[in-house]
């Protein structure tokens, strides 16, 4: 333990002696303070807070990410190149501890820097929120500076429904010459249409099992979030509809509300309309469900996609703790970056390690391309005339690689703290634990094992830097 801590301490000392810590901290705080002066917001306090959160946190991730790659590559590769590692490796400390010590050092540095810069962002937000007029502050606290949980109906399982319909269809029927693929496609379309389409003057209802979430029942306001399409999925035409929340006597009805298609709406619901002291629990039906109904009062059908669902957003906790959890996920990412840099520099020289780490990051950031390739089932694209992949053998060889790569990347990328924070969504303890397990333990651990193994095998005296 003592040797390990000595390495950690050494990393800190290096960061301070080379003024890296101060420089990065100054850069971070500077950008947090300066960014709000430079960014163009949409003119609302809400929009400003969102863009402020998004941009400051993104800049923090970017700066700290670069600093982490730089530091973690340098802290080992430079030691090897400048031969200092020779002095350390001949001492009674196992090589894996040297590696771990360096990693811990970098992670602790990141923790400190993230705490400082995150604190600055938080302070700035609170300061600005405090200066707003009461009404705007209320909106801000209700929608952004809050940790909102989300509740959806259990998604309709299209596939098993299709299975069931198909089973019913072929029961006792002559299946000779039946094209099952075609049948499935048709049944799926039908099932979807049944679920998604709301013709004029008809009603779509959602039943959300909200009684399972105790603290929510005492709330007196929440938001409903949804999206629908018109007949033309690209059209932004407005469609009129009426909303009914709750059941029986205890329900809140909206006036016919023209809403644009093809975009998400977040509609506030204030239970106090029912009467003073009324709570969300008063809206539930006999089975403890929150029923929300939509009546299409327009002249054409609208479509509520199954994938989007209808979400009820409710206050789950305060912003401060949520913000801290968000920062922790960012710290997990940075820890993974540190492990990546160290693993690379366990085997490569400093510039090469930096280059490789950044290369890997670029691949990660282009995971959008990866995922679209995987979902389209082709990398080189389709021939538009034949509908066949252009390079079939290439696709066959590379698609599995892409799929695996994407799965690995998604282990780390599935979390979106900046997004959640800027939309006032709750980052639960569960997802935090999951993030820790996936990012730090699994991916970081894998990189650490690789890095330590490479470092263990490496001959440390081959560097000839002084000759």
């Amino acid at each position: 333990m003592q040797p390990l801590l000595a390495i950690v301490k050494l990393t800190w000392k290096a960061a301070f002696r080379y003024r890296l810590f101060v420089a990065v901290a100054a850069l971070l705080i500077g950008s947090v303070v300066l960014l709000p002066l430079l960014i163009k917001d949409d003119g609302t306090a809400r929009g400003f807070s969102q863009i402020l959160l998004t941009y400051t946190l993104s800049v923090i991730i970017l700066l700290l990410g670069i600093a982490t790659i730089w530091l973690s590559c340098g802290v080992l590769a430079r030691d090897i190149e400048d031969c200092q590692i020779q002095m350390v490796a001949v001492k009674p400390i196992p090589r894996w501890q040297i590696w771990l010590g360096k990693w811990l050092g970098v992670v602790l540095l990141n923790t400190a820097l993230l705490a400082v810069s995150g604190g600055a962002v938080y302070g700035l937000l609170m300061y600005r929120a405090g200066k707003l007029p009461a009404k705007e502050r209320q909106t801000l606290v209700a929608e952004i500076l809050v940790a909102r949980g989300s509740l959806k109906e259990k998604p309709f399982d299209v596939k098993s429904a299709v299975d069931r319909y198909l089973a019913e269809r072929i029961q006792g029927a002559d299946t000779n010459g039946m094209d099952f693929r075609y049948e499935r496609v048709m049944l799926e379309r039908q099932a979807r249409a049944q679920m998604e389409v709301v013709p004029p003057n008809s009603i779509r209802s959602w039943k959300l099992p909200i009684s399972s979430i105790d603290p929510v029942l005492g709330l007196d306001r929440f938001h409903v979030r949804f999206r629908f399409y018109g007949a033309d999925t690209n059209s932004l035409k407005e469609h009129a509809g009426e909303w009914l929340v709750g059941s029986g006597q205890n329900s809140i009805r909206s006036n016919p509300l023209p809403l644009a298609a093809n975009t998400f709406h977040e509609v506030p619901v204030n239970v106090a309309y029912l009467g003073a002291g009324k709570k969300l629990s008063d809206l539930l039906d006999s089975e403890g469900r929150l029923v929300i109904q939509y009546r299409n009062s327009g002249e054409s059908s609208v479509v509520f996609p199954i994938e989007d669902g209808l979400e009820v957003l409710y206050r789950e906790g305060g912003f401060a703790l949520n913000f801290a959890r968000g920062l922790l996920i960012i710290l997990f990412w940075l820890s993974l970056l540190a492990a990546l840099g160290l693993a690379a520099s366990s085997y490569m020289t400093f510039p090469v390690a930096c280059f490789c780490s950044i290369g890997i990051l670029i691949v990660v950031f282009s995971s959008g391309t990866l995922s679209s390739s995987v979902s389209e089932g082709t990398i080189m694209g389709m021939d538009h005339e034949t509908g066949e992949p252009i390079a079939h053998s290439f696709d066959t060889a590379m698609l599995p690689v892409f799929t695996v790569l994407l799965k690995v990347i998604n282990l780390a990328q599935d979390f979106s703290p900046v997004d959640s924070l800027s939309t006032g969504r709750s980052i639960t303890w569960g997802s935090l634990a999951q993030a820790f397990a996936q990012i730090v333990l699994l991916l970081g651990g894998l990189l650490a094992v690789c890095g330590m193994w490479l470092f263990q095998r490496r001959e440390l005296a081959t560097a000839q830097s002084n000759q």
Binding site: P3, K9, C83, V88, A89, V90, P92, I93, A461
Partner: protein, 407 residues
């Protein structure tokens, strides 16, 4: 015949059994550096065997790139042998616990430049898991010992080379090691510092510590080492105690004041009459480690042992000889003239080819010419103080070997 074989053939004591415990045992050690494609690039150490006993001060000698440092780094587990076997305290050099007993001073300052003396010692003390009180105690004493009292809080990056050697030595001793490996310990140190280090080595040896000293400063080695190996081209060319290596039992040297030519002829005639056609050589009595070392290197080269390191310059650059106008060949001829003129009439030495003779001569000349260009070469040195002689020899040798530190 290599020097090693020669020595072993004539000195049965070398292989005599020593009952002391082995601290280091190396058998068949070979290190081949490979290039990116895995093709052998250089054979730095080639089938080396030696053992080091507890309490020995063991010297590793050799020109640049002869494999000394590679051997040291394999002993420390910083490089892994291609073939062969190393044991340090009976274990693999990569064993973490073994390192508890080793102190290492590398050939250059590989210390963290942003730490000061105290922090450096504290850091390395921590790596040995020494508790805080001990650490401070030892650091205190070591800083005192290496004379860095006034520079405790200056960072190592600001140190002169000599100071860096001193703090390097201090860190090597923080764990009170049983085996101390010193790579060029005196390089960059002033004469007083050199003396202090040598005294320290002797003192440590007296306390039963085992010390491995790698150096091309022959004076260091001669002053403190019990046994030495001489490397050339990755192979051991000679091994043994200094006494064994330096005494030539097959030859006899008669040292006299300068004789007249007649007297010399007379003496030689007498000797020839006695030994027939055997080799008789007349030269100045410089048979110390330096000349022995040069002899070994020369023979190894004649036996065309490959070296992957630097080879010694066969000629001294014209401008250094103060003779840039004439051609190199002319210059050599002139020098040879002077040499032969100062010697007794040439006695043919049939077993030594003329070419190699002149090569050796020009080597010596270059060394001499650099150290004392005006002095005639025929001055015999009768009873010069060894220390003075050695330090001159060091200078000459370092000139010969390219003047660079060796690792």
């Amino acid at each position: 015949m290599t020097a090693l074989e020669q020595v072993q053939a004539t000195n049965p004591e070398v292989s005599a059994i020593d009952d002391r415990e082995n601290v280091v045992a190396v058998r068949g050690l070979t290190k081949v550096f490979k290039d990116f494609w895995g093709r052998p690039k250089a054979r730095a150490v080639d089938n080396v065997d030696f053992e080091i006993k507890r309490g020995e001060v063991f010297g590793l000698l050799g020109p640049n790139g002869s494999g000394k440092s590679t051997t040291v780094k394999m002993l420390l587990g910083l490089l892994y042998p291609t073939k062969g076997h190393i044991e340090v305290f009976g274990k693999s050099p990569r064993d973490v616990q073994t390192k508890q007993r080793i102190g290492y001073l590398p050939e250059e300052s590989y210390l963290y430049r942003y730490l000061n003396s105290e922090e450096t010692l504290d850091f390395f003390g921590n790596l040995f898991s020494i508790d805080a009180k001990d650490r401070q105690n030892r650091a205190e004493q070591l800083i005192e010992m290496v004379g860095l009292n006034t520079a405790r809080t200056r960072t190592v990056g600001e140190f002169s080379k000599g100071m860096q050697r001193r703090i390097g030595l201090a860190q090597a001793l923080i764990n009170d090691p049983d085996l101390i490996i010193l790579d060029e310990p005196t390089s960059g140190l002033d004469p007083i510092g050199c003396r202090e280090i040598k005294d320290l080595i002797i003192a440590l040896a007296k306390r039963g510590k085992t010390i491995i000293l790698s150096s091309h400063l022959l004076a260091d080695v001669e002053d403190v080492c019990d046994r030495v190996v001489i490397y050339y081209g990755g192979k051991i060319q000679a091994i043994g105690t200094l006494k064994e290596l330096l005494s030539e039992r097959e030859t006899l040297r008669i040292t006299t004041p300068t004789l007249s030519r007649e007297a010399t002829e007379k003496v030689l005639a007498t000797i020839r009459a006695d030994i027939g056609n055997g080799e008789v050589r007349v030269d100045n009595p410089t048979q110390n480690l330096e000349s022995y070392f040069l002899d070994v290197v020369k023979r190894a080269r004649e036996a065309s042992a490959e070296t992957s390191g630097a080879t010694s310059g066969h000629r001294v650059a014209a401008y250094l000889r103060g003779d840039d106008a004439g051609s190199a060949a002319d210059a050599t001829a002139k020098v040879l003239d002077r040499l032969t003129a100062s010697k007794p009439p040439a006695v043919p030495a049939p077993s030594v080819p003329a070419a190699s003779q002149s090569a050796v001569d020009s080597l010596k000349l270059a060394a001499l010419g650099k150290a004392e260009p005006a002095k005639p070469a025929e001055q015999p040195k009768v009873a010069a103080k060894p220390a003075v002689d050695l330090s001159k020899a060091n200078e000459k040798l370092s000139g010969l070997l390219g003047g660079k530190s060796d690792h």
